[in-house]
């Protein structure tokens, strides 16, 4: 076989080679079926969606963060210095710790309280059950802005202002979580419950040994939803926390912007703070994507 023949033959033989490997050949066929235009369009859309964060990430590695042309978008050498300065000197470490404690407390508290409520609503024969469920659901109509002047006075009267209690306890009751858990419990076959009952299992054993193992995905899913919700809270901490050492990261970020506008810190550091604030919920989303998506499909019902 001459060299020329080998070369001209190559495409066919590649195809033959690929055909012998179903995975690869399949992938190639599917790629061809998709069409290049579709992939290009998707890549472009996602680039637009991701670009702001990509630019912010690059800026967070620079000394000043003044970007006036595309050429300025090369990564800088100040990444370590910036992140260290934000975390240590600019109290971002403290802000993030406060946000972690707040979010974890809200997740644990909400989950515990809501699992118990859903257990009562689904597995107990009690009068006024629908009324109890509606009472929980109705709180959906009462987001913080609808009640925050009296809530502010109440929490201040309790002496909770500037404490962790102020930014956790009012969030513990959750219509959404009770609703999702109820829907999920209702999808567990009733016969299974009856068997447990015949075996003489008490409610807490039933919860711990039957419900929890059968609800792992949903429990993880709602926990992620609750964590993201808590982590991203802004208005209420802004109102009730004045002591900077107690502040959460979202509001702390605003303090950083103020310093940048006053010329006290470089904009690069503001982007450093932004990326630090984005990281925890983003990591959770990436890690628990599947249970999260499954849980969302329950929520809509």
């Amino acid at each position: 076989m001459t060299l020329l023949e080998t070369l001209t033959d190559a495409p066919d033989r590649t195809a033959e080679y690929l055909r012998d490997r179903p995975g690869v050949a399949d992938l190639r066929d599917r790629l061809r079926e998709d069409g290049l235009a579709l992939h290009a369009l998707l890549a472009l859309s996602i680039l637009v969606l991701v670009a702001p964060v990509l630019v912010a990430t690059v800026v967070s590695t620079k000394e000043l963060g003044i970007v006036t042309s595309l050429a300025d978008l090369a990564p800088g050498s100040h990444a370590v210095a910036n992140y260290r300065r934000a975390l240590v000197d600019l109290e971002f470490g403290q802000f993030m710790l406060n946000s972690f404690v707040m979010s974890l407390a809200i997740v644990v508290g909400k989950l515990t309280v809501s699992v118990l409520a859903a257990l009562a609503i689904v597995y107990y024969r009690i009068p006024y059950k629908n009324a109890a469920f509606l009472f929980v659901l109705f709180t959906l109509l009462l987001p913080v802005p609808v009640r925050f002047v009296p809530l502010f006075r109440l929490v201040t009267d309790l002496g909770w202002d500037n404490t962790m209690l102020a930014i956790t306890v009012p969030y513990i009751a959750s219509a959404t979580t009770v609703f999702i858990l109820r829907q999920h419990f209702l999808s567990i076959p009733a016969s299974l419950v009856e068997n447990a009952k015949l075996d003489g299992v008490g409610p807490f054993e039933f919860l711990w040994h039957v419900l929890v193992p059968m609800s792992k995905g949903v429990l993880v899913g709602v926990s992620v939803i609750m964590f993201v919700y808590a982590w991203n809270q802004y208005l209420w901490p802004l109102v009730i926390i004045n002591d900077q050492s107690q502040q959460v990261v979202q509001v702390g970020l605003g303090l950083l912007r103020g310093q940048a506008q006053a010329g006290d810190v470089a904009w690069a550091l503001v982007m450093t703070g932004s990326m630090l604030t984005l990281l925890p919920p983003l990591v959770l989303l990436a890690l628990f994507r599947k249970p999260l998506l499954q849980t969302f499909t329950i929520q809509q019902k």
């Binding site: 630019v55 309280v113 109509l141 802005p145 009012p170 009733a190 991203n232 802004y234 109102v239 912007r257």
Partner: protein, 294 residues
């Protein structure tokens, strides 16, 4: 018939419900009731309250500033809802159509769900900054002078774009689930009939997805009214001259910058009416779908 209601003790059930009920009553219901009550009072600095009847509401009705805030909020909500849903539907459709790398594209599209509004606002403030922004020069090259620190229309546009950006992920999550539920046979039939892609989206998928789309209209409206405070606080502080002074920001300023607790409570009641109407409509429409098996 099998039943789930296997436990009988009423006291146990009450005990299980008590934590939720107490927190709901103390931190949700009572403050909400108090807000209605406070809206009929004028609250002084020392905490002294004087009953003024409907004076606070009359003040809102007469206030040109408040009317402007209502108008800005409605316009903002409208553009955010339409914008988010158009972008998300398009993106979801692309993901639905693609065969290779679907889950990768999906993750790359839903991540803004985790994006904190304060971060989204701050990143946009920086990227579109009239003098420092990366995007500013390319946009100015198109002949638009970027001046949103003093141009109200531009300020509202930038806040709106940032708010849309953050909400895309949430919408894609629900839309992809709904689109994947469309029976494959329908897609095949449409294909065999030579129905083009775009037509298939509009004529086949959108009608079948309508319960989900409706749910998202409501959720996005609630987001636009209640979930966008951080954008305004971080980017514009309601300015320039009220151009981005949406209701929730206006309420915050009335309460915690001017300390007019009575008027602020009246504004809270107005917002409560907004969520109330939205939830009521959602409830009724969902019921309708349930009846007709849509």
């Amino acid at each position: 018939m099998a039943t789930r209601e296997v436990f009988e003790s009423r006291w146990e059930a009450v005990g299980l419900l008590v934590p939720t009920v107490i927190v709901s009553v103390v931190f949700l219901y009572l403050p909400a009731v108090r807000a209605v009550e406070l809206s009929f009072f004028e609250v002084g600095f020392g905490g002294t309250s004087t009953l003024v009847g409907i004076e606070n509401y009359r003040q809102l009705l007469a206030s040109g500033e408040y009317h402007a805030s209502v108008a800005v909020s409605v316009l903002f909500a409208l553009v955010v809802v339409v914008g988010v849903m158009a972008v998300s539907l398009f993106l979801t459709f692309l993901i639905h159509e693609v065969g290779v790398g679907q889950s990768l594209y999906l993750v790359a599209s839903i991540w803004p769900y985790a994006l904190p509004p304060a971060v989204a606002g701050l990143v946009f403030l920086f990227l579109a900054h009239p003098t420092l922004g990366v995007f500013t020069q390319p946009i100015e090259a198109l002949g638009v002078e970027v001046d949103w620190f003093s141009d109200g229309g531009q300020a509202l546009a930038v806040v709106t774009i940032a708010a849309i950006w953050k909400q895309v992920g949430y919408n894609v999550i629900f839309m992809i689930a709904a689109m994947n539920n469309v029976p494959k046979s329908l897609t095949e039939t449409a294909r065999l009939d030579g129905v083009g892609r775009l037509k298939r989206l509009v004529r086949v998928y959108v009608p079948i997805m309508s319960p989900t789309l409706f749910f998202l209209v409501i959720m996005n409206t609630i987001y636009a009214f209640f979930g966008t405070f951080a954008f305004v606080q971080v980017m514009t502080k309601g300015g320039p001259s009220g151009a981005t002074n949406i209701l929730i920001f206006d309420l915050y300023r009335t309460a915690f910058q001017f300390y007019e607790f009575g008027v602020a409570s009246a504004k809270s009641v107005v917002l409560f009416a907004v969520v109330g109407v939205l939830m009521y409509v959602q409830f009724r429409v969902t019921e309708e779908y349930a009846h007709y098996g849509g």
